[in-house]
């Protein structure tokens, strides 16, 4: 990603590599998250999203490369790092035997900055029954209590590992609302991994796209979308010579017209088509979903946005 030198990096990952039984989970990953950013991590199952987040939490040791959180090593100093992080996973594995009240008191004990009023406000807003045990709550309620626990100590960084996976739209809306509120009101940073690209598109400023442990794409979301295009072109002359475009992912022949998915500066691309005697009939930018599909199918489809 393009990081401004003036911005304060709270997450700095350099050349991080991780293997599990000879299978590469992460390969020379570089990442920097600055204060106030909402950072999305997208990728298919097994792409390395959770592995990357667990490195940030200090639950995995870097086999090579480095992970620095808040200028500290999360493996060597877990209390200092974890006290600044609010973490919510796909399946919040909360202790099932605790009641909602107990888990609030228990969690509050770990964080000097715990804001009980804020926790109460969220509990009331989410209509969570305080006397019920976690195991008696629905999946949506468990996700909500997980969200309360992740936020009530007002962490500097909210780490959300596919938090809305398998949840209904109302809970997903709550989670997204919490992310936006946190950033808007307090300048908090968020790292958010998700399968649901629509969500990522809605809330994230920056994006990293992982595929089999490699970073396919990384950068500001607006820049990424602005640099991916779908052109429908038609040759001016009778000869149908093959198109030879750089950064071209997919060419689909639609009879007299050709559909081209490609990346790059819009003006440069237009000039290229002009040189090839191809008339542009239609143009639009790609959706994030289309970019993800295109990138995953053809990892060689490279951009210079890194």
């Amino acid at each position: 990603m393009s990081s401004s030198a003036s911005a304060e990096a709270i997450v700095s990952i350099k050349n991080l590599t991780r293997t599990f039984n000879d299978k590469i989970a992460l390969n020379k990953v570089n990442l920097e998250v600055n204060r106030g950013q909402i950072f999305g991590i997208v990728g298919e199952n097994g792409a390395g999203k959770t592995t990357l987040i667990k490195h940030m939490l200090g639950l995995y040791k870097a086999q090579s490369g480095s992970v620095v959180m808040f200028n500290k090593n999360p493996v060597l100093d877990p209390p200092a790092v974890l006290s600044n992080i609010g973490y919510l996973s796909e399946e919040p594995d909360l202790p099932a035997w605790m009641t909602v009240s107990e888990i609030l008191y228990y969690s509050a004990s770990f964080y000097p900055k715990w804001d009980q009023q804020y926790a109460d406000k969220l509990i009331d807003a989410f209509e969570l029954p305080r006397s019920k045990k976690i195991k008696e709550l629905s999946k949506g309620q468990r996700a909500r209590i997980g969200l309360v626990l992740a936020q009530a100590h007002r962490p500097e960084l909210l780490l959300l590992d596919e938090p809305s996976s398998g949840l209904d739209p109302i809970v997903r809306k709550d989670i997204l609302g919490a992310i936006i509120c946190g950033v808007m009101e307090e300048g908090r940073s968020v790292v958010f991994s998700s399968h649901l690209l629509e969500e990522v598109e809605r809330v994230c400023d920056y994006l990293v796209m992982l595929h089999k442990g490699h970073i396919l794409l990384s950068g500001a979301l607006d820049d990424i979308i602005a640099d991916h295009h779908i052109f429908t072109v038609k040759y001016a002359g009778p000869t149908k010579s093959p198109l030879n475009l750089e950064n071209c992912h997919k060419i689909t022949n639609l009879g007299p017209e050709i559909r081209i998915e490609c990346a790059g500066e819009i003006e440069t691309l237009k000039q290229n088509f002009c040189q090839l005697s191809a008339d542009i009939i239609h143009h639009r930018t790609m959706t994030l979903d289309e970019i993800f599909t295109a990138r995953s199918e053809d990892p060689q489809f490279s951009l210079g946005i890194m």
Binding site: L57, L59, P78, F110, W114
Partner: protein
């Protein structure tokens, strides 16, 4: 109104008056009951099991709380000198000494009446002065500590100690003991008279004086539980470590005491129903009880590393792994819970066993056995041997529990499986050989001089096995890539060896109990889990 009268009257508060009256009435009731001992059931339960002393101990336990100005009910138990009495226009010396003198007078008369009505008519020879002095010493210290610390958990421990002390008194002093116990009893009386009674008085006066001006000797810390954390929480703890102690106690802390109570109840029932010849199986039952305790302690050690009891998983949940707590503090919370749980369970065993010995015909069997043990070990101090016989099994159980916890925290199922089998093997071997040697003492006599050589042989074998184990792990591609994992696995293996040696050298430790080196060695083994467990946990928390 006279201030002395107010102070005395306040001891017998309305909520305690009925209780005190009932306990006083127990004496004539017991007298009537004993007089009708021609009934088969009274003969069996009272005469045969020596239940003469039970009402005395129960009433002493109850009175000690009353005299401490403690407020106790089914819901709450609070100690501390009542604040409103500080408004009385008297010196702190008088405030403290009146309740102390009241308790001393009351207990003296109570015991004298008890002797006259119960003990003497039935041909027992009570050591009157000795018991009175001991009771007063215990009572004054309980009062002083209750006022000095004002801490309900601390007071709970003290009350537990009262029970134990009372039982010791009843088991070793009251029952016309052999000469060696009489000597100890005299020593206790002298100590009580010369040290415990005056120091208890002094502590009580200082405590009241300081508390009167809001200056506690040791102020009660909010939400800090010394022995048993509460079951429910109603507010956040002051830090994460205490929250973690509570968390682990909720999951694991009550299991071991519950198991022990279950075992104790079962064997107590067995002891009662075996009737005619209880001597036959006494040793076996005591050994089995100890075996069950060790086994339960070992299992708890293994289980405490898991997310919950009986869980097959060893991995830490993300929720727990992301608590902002250092590895050492996380593990120390578990070790503290394990220690408190084990201590509570052991105290229960000691209390129940002492009851069984004191109030059953086993006492007559146990005393000569005990005396024989003292002479056999060339010990001239029966009290230190008694304390050692209490602390040594507890320490050994802790070594089992703590080391098993360290091994289980590695999070490796293969290692855990091997550790489980080794635990079972060690326990069966150790207790099996104990029973064997008990039945065949001639074999013990042959083995005894060979014990050091056997120790060397076993340690060499186990070190060799440990090296093979590390090599095997390396061959399975488990450790060769990571130096730390290698070191931790090696350490776990070495500690196994040490731990096994501790188990095997138990008879040796018992024989050489009074040497400082042996005790230091035991202390070292007891401390090992505090060094190894954080290393093991660090390995499993961060993969």
């Amino acid at each position: 109104m006279n201030t002395t009268f107010i102070l005395v009257k306040d001891i017998f508060r309305p909520q305690h008056r009925l209780g005190v009256l009932l306990y006083i009435l127990l004496i004539p009731l017991l007298f009537v009951l004993l007089k009708s001992h021609e009934h088969w059931w009274s003969e069996y339960f009272l005469i045969n099991t020596n239940l003469y002393y039970l009402p005395l101990l129960l009433s002493f336990f109850y009175f000690s709380m009353v005299f401490s100005y403690a407020d106790f009910s089914g819901k709450a138990f609070e100690t501390g000198f009542p604040k409103y009495l500080y408004l009385l226009p008297v010196h702190s010396r008088k405030l403290a000494s009146i309740p102390l003198l009241t308790s001393a007078t009351f207990l003296t008369f109570y015991y004298l009446i008890y002797c006259q009505l119960i003990l003497i008519p039935f041909g027992l020879e009570p050591a009157t002065l000795l018991v009175i002095i001991t009771m007063i010493a215990i009572q004054w210290w309980v009062q002083a500590i209750g006022w000095a610390f004002g801490h309900r958990q601390f007071a709970g421990i003290i009350l537990l100690l009262i029970v134990i002390n009372s039982l010791i008194v009843s088991a070793f002093i009251l029952k016309a003991p052999p000469q060696v116990f009489t000597d100890n009893a005299r020593l206790i009386a002298k100590l009580s008279f010369a040290f415990f009674i005056p120091s208890g008085l002094l502590l009580a006066v200082v405590a009241v004086k300081k508390d009167r001006y809001n200056d506690k000797i040791m102020p009660a810390k909010k939400n800090y539980n010394l022995l048993l954390p509460g079951f429910k929480i109603k507010q956040a703890f002051s830090n994460g470590f205490r929250a973690q102690v509570w968390y682990d106690f909720r999951l694991f802390g009550y299991i071991l005491p519950a198991i022990v109570i279950g075992i104790a109840v079962l064997f107590s029932a067995l002891m009662l129903i075996q009737g005619d010849d209880p001597h036959k199986s006494t040793t076996a039952i005591m050994v089995i009880t100890l075996l069950m305790f060790f086994m339960a302690a070992s299992v708890i050690g293994l289980e405490m590393a898991k997310p919950s009891f009986g869980n097959s998983e060893l991995t830490l949940s993300n929720f727990m792994a992301t608590r902002p707590l250092s590895d050492a503090r996380y593990v120390y919370a578990k070790l503290i819970v394990a220690f408190c749980s084990l201590l509570s369970a052991w105290l229960i065993i000691v209390v129940i066993d002492t009851y069984i010995i004191a109030f059953s015909p086993l006492n007559e069997f146990f005393m000569p056995f005990w005396q024989q043990l003292i002479y056999g070990l060339n010990s001239n101090n029966s009290l230190s041997l008694y304390l050692l016989s209490i602390t040594l099994p507890a320490a050994l159980a802790w070594v089992f529990c703590g080391n098993n916890l360290s091994i289980a925290l590695l999070g490796n199922k293969v290692i855990l499986l091997v550790a489980t089998f080794v635990t079972i093997f060690v326990l069966i071997f150790f207790f099996g050989s104990s029973i064997w040697f008990h039945k065949h003492p001639e074999h013990w006599q042959i083995l005894k001089p060979l014990l050091p050589n056997i120790g060397i042989f076993i340690s060499s074998t186990l070190l060799f096995m440990g090296a093979i184990f590390i090599f095997w792990l390396a061959r399975r591609n488990k450790i060769e890539r990571d130096l730390l994992r290698t070191l931790v696995a090696a350490m776990a293996t070495i500690y196994w060896v040490l731990w096994l040696l501790t188990a095997f050298s138990f008879p040796q430790i018992a024989l050489q109990a009074q040497t400082i080196i042996t005790l230091l060695m035991l202390a070292f083994y007891c401390c090992l889990p505090f060094l190894t467990a954080p290393l093991s946990f660090a390995r499993s928390r961060r993969k």
